[in-house]
């Protein structure tokens, strides 16, 4: 009886694991398909006529801000955005709401500065340390898993 229960338990966890891996796999395959066929900045730069007329929001680091335009970095590409009266954030990033036009021009619809966001990232590191202290105060790692400390 005990053995049957153990086998049933193993099958149950195995099926759960399969389900979880399948969900992750499905999401990754979908993402790959979207990055090949759907809208990405890379696809847009290559063919604005095909991928243009797309409105999206993204978190970026802006630089070279001037009266009527600014630039943002996508990692390996630097993009020019048309938009006036943009101000640089203080110790943070900017969320930009953009219109990727069919003529290849990227137009700013709206933006919001995440001021002092880097400060929050710093706090997050402290939070992680507090969590680790709290966790290992309550649990100790043994060969049989986490046991009462």
């Amino acid at each position: 009886m005990k053995k049957t229960l153990k086998i049933f338990n193993c099958i149950w966890y195995f099926l759960l694991l399969i389900l979880l891996v399948s969900i992750l796999l499905f999401e990754n395959v979908r993402n790959t398909y979207e990055s090949e066929e759907g809208f990405t900045v890379k696809n847009y730069i290559e063919d604005p006529e095909k991928h243009g007329n797309f409105i999206s929001e993204r978190m970026v680091k802006i630089y070279n801000v001037s009266q009527d335009h600014f630039y943002f970095d996508t990692g390996n590409l630097s993009l020019k955005v048309i938009g006036s009266n943009v101000q640089k954030p203080v110790l943070g990033e900017t969320v930009v709401y953009l219109n990727f036009r069919k003529d290849g021009v990227i137009e700013l619809i709206d933006y919001h500065n995440y001021d002092y966001n880097y400060f929050l990232y710093g706090i997050s590191v402290i939070a992680l340390l507090i969590f680790l202290i709290l966790f290992f105060k309550e649990w100790k790692l043994t060969l049989r898993g986490f046991e009462d400390a």
Partner: protein, 166 residues
């Protein structure tokens, strides 16, 4: 929310309110959605060729499945581990849907059944520092109350007795 500290403090408040002994399980649940869903940043940072998206972990149903798999790792009641973990996770998702966006970026509450994003559009992510301050005050107040429960009850009783006499 961009900061883990708010999630941690909200998790601790819930653990205190429900008198949960293993607070770290609630906090683990409150932090895991952000920790797991951002593991792909490591592969991205080191320029690894295989980029795996772990964003499904930032959804309640997938995290529930993950918590069932994690539970046997703890030499503790499995049901309690799953409940405490998901209490923390739920607090994470509820605080995340208050975030403001220009578009419908938000939390996929019903994933994998639906890819719809939900958001209440209340505050910008960087303004979560106000949530942090408020929740920190609430947590400290609960701790003080719990530590001095008897003393406070005695003071209040004395005060009400005096008040009713006058």
């Amino acid at each position: 929310m961009p900061d883990l500290m708010s999630h941690l403090v909200i998790g601790l408040i819930l653990a205190e309110l429900f008198n949960i002994k293993k607070k770290s399980l609630v906090v683990l649940g409150a932090l895991t959605p952000d920790l797991l869903s951002k593991t792909n940043l490591i592969t991205l940072h080191f320029g690894m060729p295989l980029q795996i998206s772990t964003t499904p972990f930032h959804t309640p149903i997938v995290l529930l499945l993950a918590s069932i798999l994690i539970a046997p790792l703890f030499r503790y009641s499995k049901i309690k581990t799953i409940i405490f973990f998901n209490t923390g996770a739920l607090s994470h998702f509820l605080s995340d849907i208050t975030m403001k966006h220009f578009t419908i970026i938000g939390t996929r509450l019903l994933y994998p059944f639906s890819r719809t994003n939900y958001t209440l559009n209340l505050i910008w992510p960087e303004q979560s520092v106000y949530i942090l301050v408020v929740s920190l005050f609430i947590y400290i107040a609960i701790r003080i109350y719990k530590k001095n429960k008897l003393r406070l009850r005695f003071i209040f009783q004395k005060f009400f007795k005096k008040f009713s006499k006058s």
